[in-house]
Structures are given as C-alpha cells and as structure tokens.
Amino acid sequence: TSKSFLSLPLQAKMSRPVQARRLEGVDKNIWVEFVKLAATYSKVNLGQGFPDFPAPDFLREAFTRALSGENHMLHQYTRAFGHPPLVKVLAQLFGKLLGRDLDPMTNVMVTVGAYQALFCCFQAFVDEGDEVIIIEPFFDCYESMVKMAGGTPVFIPLRLKAPKDGKLMSSADWQLDPAELASKFSERTKAIVLNSPNNPLGKVFSRGELELIADLCVKHDVLCISDEVYEWLVYDGKEHIRIASLQGMWDRTVIIGSAGKTFSVTGWKVGWTVGPDRLLQHLRTVHQNSVYHCATIAQEAVAQGFQRELMLYGKPDSYFVQLSKELQQKRDWLVQSLEAVGMKPIVPEGTYFLVADISEFKSDVPDVPSSDEPYDNRFAKWMVKNKGLAAIPLSAFYSKAHKNNYNNFIRFCFAKEEATLKAANEILQKWKKEKTSS
C-alpha cells in the first residue's frame, strides 16, 4: 500500500527501524569510551596500546623519500591486494621464517591494519551456525566480529595457576586446561582464534600449548586465525613459535601481522595476512568488496622498512632486536614501580602490555554490589578521573558472562618514553603515600 505522505507536514524522519540486525550486540565499544576518557582526564596515558616514542628514523625517512620522489603515482591506487614491493618482501620474510616458498600474489594480502585482516577472516569463514573458539582474556573485537558475521563465540579461559611462594605472577602461569579445551570443539566449530603473544596478558604460548591446539584443529578440521601482531615483542630469550609451522597447520591457518606494532607506527594502519591460497582467495573476495585498496604511500615505506630488517635479520642493529630489548627494560622498570607501591604485576613474556592486581587500592573505590558494571571498570574510570592515570580494566577483555571472573586487574601499556613511565611512577608513589597517611 502506498502512503501519501506528501499531504502531511513533511515526513522527514525515517519511521521504521533503520539499522541492520547484524549490528545487534556489537554497538558497544570499550575503546570509544576509554579513549575519550583518556583524552579528557589523563595526565599519563598507559591505556590504549600505542607507543608515545617516535617511530624509527629509517621508517620515517622511507616515508619522506617516497613523498619527495619524482614518482607522484605513489599518490594513486596501487594493487588492491597489496603494493607489489610490500607483498614481495613479506613473502620473502615469512617464507624464511616458515621455511616455505611463498608467492607474494597468492599467499599474502595487505589490509588496513591487523584489525581489517581480522574482519576479512571472520567475514570470509564464519557463517550463521558456526562456532568460533575464543581464548579469554581476548582482544575485544574478536567477539563482536564473530557476532557480526552471524557466528557464535565459544569462550575458554586461561586459568591462573598460583605462582610459587614469593615469586611474582608471570603470564606463563595463565594456562589452558587441555580437557576443557577439547570439550569446546564440536562439529559446529569453524575456527579458533589464537593470539600469541597475547593481549592483554602478554602470554607467549609454548610449543606444547600450540601443539595441543594444533592437534585439536587437525582432529576436528578447524581453521586457525592466528593473531601474531606482537610477534617481535618477546622477552627473556623466549621464542615466538608460529602455529602455522606445526604439523598439519599451514593449510588451515591464516597468520595476521601488523606494521603498527612491528615498526611503532600504529597510525599508519598497515597490516597483512599470510596463508595458503585456498584460504586467502576468500579474504581477497571480502577485501575487494569492502575496502578494495589500501593507501599506497605507507605501504611503500613499510616495504622499505622490511627490506632493511630482512638484511639485518638477527643482527644487533635490527629494529626487531633493539625494540624488544628496549621494551624489556621498560617492562622491568614498570614491574618494579608497581611492586613498590603494592600493585601486583603479572610479568608478561611478550607484548607491550602488563596486567596488575590492584586489590591493595580497592579501599579508594568502594564496590557497589548492586551495580552491573564490573569493579575494575569503575576503578579504571575513577583512577583516570582522580589520579590522571589511564589504564584499561581487564574485564574489557572478557565476554559478558565472565566479566566478573577477575575483578581486580587492570592493564597498563609500557611502550612509553622514560619520562612517561617516571611520571606514572610519581602518581603511584603519591597515591600510596596518601593511603598510608590516611
């Protein structure tokens, strides 16, 4: 039936529900809220994960060179699935790391940050009725992306095993229960998301743990979406092992990486996927129907950055080597700083995040049992507003059902200048003094 609106006072607004149902349950986003809070209140921002030190000179020089060159065609579209020099060097590097011959055209695809790589994976592989296993705590977008694709997230927690007396907690103390993990796999399981090194805990999965996951993937014919953005940030001589290199895994794994995390340029939004053509072809389909091309200049500069790193691989001058050494020192510094004031850090084996137990400081932020809001959320908000120190509550990294499982932890980012970490320390010291004297 056609309605005659023209005779009514101009019916401007859309009168029926306008948004698609795929947006149900994915509209809330912790970062939108906490980035705003940090921007408004924080004097020291250890919240969102980005470095406040400069990007390496060689990379900024590559960017400037690309701009000043005769070739103004770098301001125009490049190849949709990845700028040729970049996919070429990624294929070389990852081929070397995986011990495989990789084709830059079919085994590599460039994306707008690792975030868009994740999006392409979920859209390409997950359908209504599919289950996707997510290990908690997890980078929050996994859950909403699975839901937006119509899939069902199935959660399994890393469980904290109490450390030996007197020792600090380590991210290695957080482990999967093998029987519990096995029980999560069903005939509806399409994929498992692995994030190693893990954000927020900093856990670096061991070979044994990866083999456990790999065996189940092979047994149940499940895909593995392997988010390895922090692959170069591993400490204490630990090794980052790529699950795709394990028996039976190359053919069922998509590896995701990030220039933002690799080269400390989160604002460039250059990421990539590496995997077999039979999987990447579907990522290409999603990509060409959503974003199509990624910006050219940043890809050109990142390609040059990788060419340098390939030449310096394993040598002391390698940025990968230097960055992880530098961050390990910052990690140790923050660990000491937190310990000194009574916050109990979980020492991370990798990434630039550290989770700490804030139980000693709970008296400042009374619990409100009737509230829906997880305690650590309230704590983090109070802390940024009243102490000017921004951090992220651990519950942000848990599914709704499990948000109250670990109530007393917050996550700090330590990819910060010495001055920033010192300033954070001063805030914490002052806070502790105020508590002791009150």
């Binding site: 306008v18 103004h72 977008c141 340029v265 604002g267 460039w268 940043a298």
Partner: protein, 400 residues
C-alpha cells in the same frame, strides 16, 4: 580487477581505470611531508575520524549544505568512498531489503548490496534521442518506471551524481522526482557524490540531502581521492544525520576501527586551505574542473575525428563512447562475451589503447542495451592524451 591487470602493460595508453596520472596539487603533497615529521601523527587517532579532519569537513560542507553539521556525530571518515559505501550498506541494509540501483552503475554497488543479503533492483538510464546521444544530459530516468520500482521492501536507492560512467549531473528537478519517492515510500538515499567538484560549465551539482525532507534519510558520500587527485590516499567520508551515522560508526568500529592518521591530518590541512577560498576561482575545487573541461573537450574532438560517437559528460572524469559506428566485426571471436568486452580487448591488442566496457557497469538484463559503449577516463596528463591522439588519428589508416 580483471582490466587493471591487462592495462598494466606500459606500452598501452591507459584510459581505462579511473586513475589520475596528473600530479596532485603541490600544497597537498607538502602537507603530507610536514605531517611525517610529527611523532604523535604516526599513532592511532580518533576512530570515527581525526578531529582536525572532521572539523574541516564540517566547515566545508556546512557552507555547501547551508546547515549545521556536527563533526563528531554527523561525519564518519572511511577508507575511501568505497569504505563509506560498505559501511553504509552494512549498517542499514539486510536480508529482505530491496535496494534500487540506477544503471549503468559503479560496479561495487551490486556485490555490496548482495553481500548484505539484500536484493538489487535495477532501473536503467535511457537515452532520450532514440539512441543518438551527444551529451550525458540525454540520459534520463523514466519517472513512471522509477516509481514502479519502489515498494514496501525498498530500503534504499543508490544515487550517483555526477554519474560514473556516463558523467550525468542530475538536475534539481530529476532529484526532486527521486526525493518525492523516497519520502512517499519512507526510503533511504545513499548519495555517492565523489565527483561533486567536477562539474562543467552550465551545470550545477545539487545535493539531494538539501532538498526538503531529505537530510534525515540521506547519507552523502565524498572522496579525498577524487577531490584532490590522490586516489592512493584512500580517504572518504559519509555525512548525514546523527541517527543514521551512528550505525555506520558501529560498522566502522567493527571492521577497521580507525583510518591512517598522517593522511587524515594532511587532508585536513588541504581542506582548510581550500575552505578559506571557496569564493575564489583559484580554489582547487574549481580549478581542477576547469583543467578537466579542456581535457574533456579535446578528448571528445579526437574521438569524433576517429569516427566514434562520444557522449560528452556534464561532470566527472569519464566519457562513454558509442563504438558501433566503426562496425568492427568481432563475430569470429567466439567467446560468450558482450560486444564491448570483445571490442576493448581488440582495441588493447591492435590499437594499444585501453578503456572499460560499459556492460561491466550493468545488471544482467541491461547488458545488451549498453554493449555498444566503452568508457574512457580523461583525467590524464597532456603526454598521455597526446599518445591517445596519435592512436586515434591513425585509427582509420590501419586495416581492421
């Protein structure tokens, strides 16, 4: 994707893909160079759009639209206009919906609508003068035919003005016909206006969102790539009412979260420069279209001299050409392909000139109607057009 590969051969004069080979204005390149030196601009910025960029966009478009535009709630910055189309369609379109698409259409509209689970409903632009078209203005929608396409399932219509590939600039009267139907049927309008600054003498770009009753139901999409000849920056934007844009923002935060910072900052600076001189003819928004108008006229002339029939566009940087006048016999090329595909392949191989076949821009029912046309892109530097001139002047000297 298919035609980009073929035309990558440097011996071929590439007038196919919509890619400028002219340089972006120098101040645009300079702004990006300046930005590279600022540390914090290499890190994440605000997800829905870098603050200085959304402010600059609201400044430019408040002037153009004559209404207040809130930079934080009424704008979303995306990865190219392509990203805006995707975010809009994913946010507002789903299974059970129908979406009206005007043919010929920019080829991504159909797969994006399908990916959202909805049904594309096509309506062709029809040539007024019995197939003899000299201008893009000859191509019009039949109002009765259009009205018939709307029903209770129609969620949106996608409008593209200035139009790719024909170059049509929809008049206010034509937009009013569409607006009336949108209001009558309570439909959304997705208005792809990436070529908004490229309108030639005698024509005016009208924003359908400025028509009465339309702001609340329209998403208007723009592109830095087309505005500043920087397609490789991949920055675009969606502008609309808060209650629609908020859904696009939800899609954005679940797909790529944030766009590159340095490019957004440089774009913001360039927009400030031009927004301050919108009353000045030297503003790049106007100077680029003057530059392109002479290239358009040159291209049209060369094509006519070669015996082809160009459809002179009122806007955009594409021109469609009727190649049937040449009577090139390709019936022995025994592929199932439409005539224009075969023609383009023949033209690439034998004339070393590339274009895009128009049936690439049509739904299945209309391919026959448009298969005598191919599309040329004329946002090319003089030496490229010179090379095209040589080919076109020698066209008839070779045996077919």
């Amino acid at each position: 994707v298919e035609f980009t590969k073929v035309a990558a051969d440097p011996s071929i004069v590439n007038l196919g893909q919509g890619l400028p080979d002219i340089s972006p204005p120098s101040y645009v390149k300079e702004e990006l160079a300046k930005v590279a030196a600022v540390d914090r601009l290499n890190q994440y910025t605000r997800g829905f759009g870098h603050p200085s960029l959304v402010k600059a966009l609201s400044q430019v478009y408040e002037g153009v639209c004559g209404r207040k535009i809130d930079p934080l709630t009424d704008i979303l910055v995306t990865v190219g206009a392509y990203g805006s189309l995707f975010s809009t369609i994913q946010a507002l379109i789903e299974e059970g919906d129908e979406v009206i698409i005007i043919e010929p259409f920019y080829d991504c509209y159909e797969p994006m609508v399908k990916m959202a689970g909805a049904k594309p409903v096509f309506i062709p632009l029809r040539c007024k003068n019995d197939g003899n078209s000299a201008s893009s203005a000859d191509w019009v929608l039949d109002p009765a035919e259009l009205a018939n396409k709307f029903n209770s399932k129609t969620k949106a219509i996608i409008l593209n003005t200035p139009h790719n590939p024909i170059g049509k600039v929809f008049t206010r009267e034509e937009l009013q016909v569409i607006a009336d139907l949108c209001i009558k049927h309570d439909t959304l309008c997705i208005s792809d206006e990436v070529y908004e600054w490229l309108v030639y003498k005698g024509n005016k770009h009208v924003k359908i969102a400025t028509l009465p009753g339309m702001w609340e139901r329209t998403i208007t999409i723009g592109s830095a790539g087309k505005t500043y000849s920087v397609t490789g920056w991949k920055l675009g934007w969606s502008i609309g009412p808060k209650n629609l844009i908020k859904h696009l923002q939800v899609v954005h935060q679940n797909t790529l979260y944030t766009c590159p910072t340095p490019l957004q900052e440089a774009l913001a600076q360039a927009l400030w420069i031009d927004s301050k001189r919108m009353d000045d003819p030297d503003c790049y928004f106007y100077s680029l279209s003057r530059e392109l108008e002479s290239k358009r006229d040159r291209m049209a002339q060369l094509l006519r001299e070669a015996g082809l029939k160009p459809v002179v566009p009122d806007g955009g940087y594409f021109m469609i050409v009727d190649v049937s006048t040449l009577n090139v016999d390709l019936s022995d090329v025994d592929e199932e392909q439409p005539y224009d595909y075969k023609f383009v392949k023949w033209m690439i191989t034998s004339k070393k000139l590339s274009a895009i076949p128009l049936s690439a821009f049509c739904g299945p029912e209309t391919k026959k109607q448009f298969e005598k046309y191919i599309r040329f892109c004329f946002i090319k530097k003089d030496s490229t057009l010179d090379a095209a001139e040589v080919i076109l002047k020698n066209w008839n000297k070779q045996t077919v």
